[in-house]
């Protein structure tokens, strides 16, 4: 065990309709080699031993690829550090005696389920609205590699496809906009020949669903790009804007 002592200011909320409040928790014996989630595990272990309700927070793979962990730590999505998720944030980023605020993602579209866990199903509904390619599985399926694709396009599509849908973009955006997420999901398909046939319908349907969910509007502050654990570029938002504008102007 380590020897760091911290004060956590954690958002506690019993359920979706609870008011919620910040509760102070002292944590000791924190090692600088722990991830932020492991530090919360230590605190929760302590709370359980004392017979208190442990803090609910989302986590799954703990290696930065599932997009499940969230947390607004000391005023930033996934805490300080760039290109990382909360499970990749280590306690060495903090100093002994630090006070750390831990809050859930704040967005109308991401209602709090309990404490720090929020419901991100709005992202799934946006995906379901058009974030796919329709493939005929009648047995005449063409090998994806048989289609020539420029290397640059393939690379850009892959960069967009690295989005793990964690919601840090929404949490960070001063407007609560989901444009970086939608842009990544539209771009990864719009750049490839397989995605072209449905590109108009996709852009229109996904943006429509995004607005329906109650996300805010993009004002190009660029905050999402800075906080994105996968470094998704604003270039994709511009591509979404192009796709959406063209689709709006040319739809029948």
């Amino acid at each position: 065990m380590g020897n760091m002592k911290l004060t956590l200011k954690v958002w506690r909320q019993g359920g979706p309709n609870d008011k919620g409040r910040i509760v102070d928790y002292p944590v000791s014996d924190v090692s600088e080699d722990m991830s932020f989630l492991e530090m919360l595990d230590v605190l929760n272990d302590d709370l359980v031993r004392k017979g208190e309700d442990p803090i609910a927070f989302d986590h799954d793979c703990r290696e930065g690829i599932c997009g499940m962990c969230s947390l607004f730590i000391n005023g930033e999505a996934h805490g300080p550090g760039r290109g990382i998720t909360t499970c990749q944030l280590h306690m060495r980023r903090f100093k002994d005696g630090d006070t750390i605020y831990v809050e859930p993602w704040r967005s109308t579209a991401f209602p709090v389920i309990k404490d720090l866990a929020v419901d991100r199903a709005a992202f799934d509904r946006i995906q379901a609205a058009g974030g796919f390619v329709s493939v005929n599985t009648s047995g005449n399926l063409v090998d994806g590699n048989a289609l020539p694709i420029p290397k640059d396009d393939a690379d850009k599509a892959f960069d967009a496809a690295t989005c793990i849908g964690c919601g840090a973009c929404v949490a960070t955006c001063p407007n609560g906009s989901a444009m970086l997420f939608v842009a990544a999901k539209v771009s990864q398909l719009a750049l490839l020949p397989q995605g072209k046939p449905e590109s108009k319908r996709r852009a229109l349907a996904m943006v429509e669903q995004m607005d329906k969910e109650g996300f805010g509007n993009c004002s190009n502050t660029g905050a999402c790009e800075v906080e994105c654990p996968k470094n998704i570029s604003l270039e994709h938002i511009a591509r979404l804007n192009r796709e959406y504008l063209t689709a709006t102007l040319t739809k029948e």
């Binding site: 005023g75 579209a109 407007n175 609560g176 804007n241 796709e243």
Partner: protein
């Protein structure tokens, strides 16, 4: 926002060019000549109406986005480090826009209401015998308070443009690694040059650099 914003930017170019004529420092003769042409030209007078419509559209659109964005985050963060990932002015466009709008009310009262409605015959004529809008400027900027308000208005415009100019291109989907540098450079240059030119007018008239 992008389309109306770029339209309003195009107006700033015209406005700065016409008013820049005071820097000929010839007792306002060149400026009054240009102002007279623009004040009587049918095309420009029509564009004046389009300009007001553009401004109203920009403001209304901005207010709608502001209210939607507020609704998108009803519970604020107890701790938020905005400075870590965005410039303060890019996240304060509504506030800066409001300052500019308040300034515009005063600005229109100072000049537009006088030239269009109450008349400026009382200010006499210039050396070329034209109605003397330049004298109205001299009279207005005799007050140090007016000069300070105008300079503050120019600062609001500077920050609003510093984000707005390049943001408009991004919103229209114009983002290309080859041209992003050029757009950012033009945006920064425009945001500095135009407000600086405007700010120089009340200052130089107040300090009698221009007579």
């Amino acid at each position: 926002m992008a389309l109306t914003g770029l339209f309003l930017i195009s107006f700033l170019v015209v406005h700065a060019t016409v008013n820049g004529m005071i820097f000929f420092n010839d007792g306002g003769v060149t400026f009054n000549e240009w102002a007279h042409f623009f004040g009587t030209n049918l095309l420009i007078r029509t564009m004046e109406i389009v300009l007001f419509l553009g401004l109203i559209a920009h403001v209304v659109d901005g207010l709608m986005l502001w209210s939607q964005n507020r609704a998108a985050r009803p519970v604020k963060y107890a701790m938020e480090k905005g400075g870590a990932n965005r410039s303060w002015y890019s996240a304060s466009m509504g506030f800066l826009g409001t300052l500019i709008l308040l300034f515009l009310v005063l600005h229109l009262w100072h000049f537009w209401v006088k030239t269009r409605f109450t008349g400026i015959e009382g200010y006499g004529v210039d050396a070329a015998g034209r109605e003397n809008l330049f004298a109205v400027m001299q009279q207005t900027f005799r007050s140090p308070a007016a000069v300070i308000i105008y300079v503050l208005g120019c600062f609001s415009l500077f920050w609003h443009l510093l984000h707005g100019f390049k943001s408009a291109f991004q919103s229209l989907g114009i983002n290309h690694s080859r041209y992003n540098g050029l757009i950012a450079m033009c945006g920064t240059a425009f945001s500095i040059i135009v407000p600086a030119l405007f700010a120089l007018m009340p200052i130089s008239i107040h300090l009698n650099w221009i007579k």
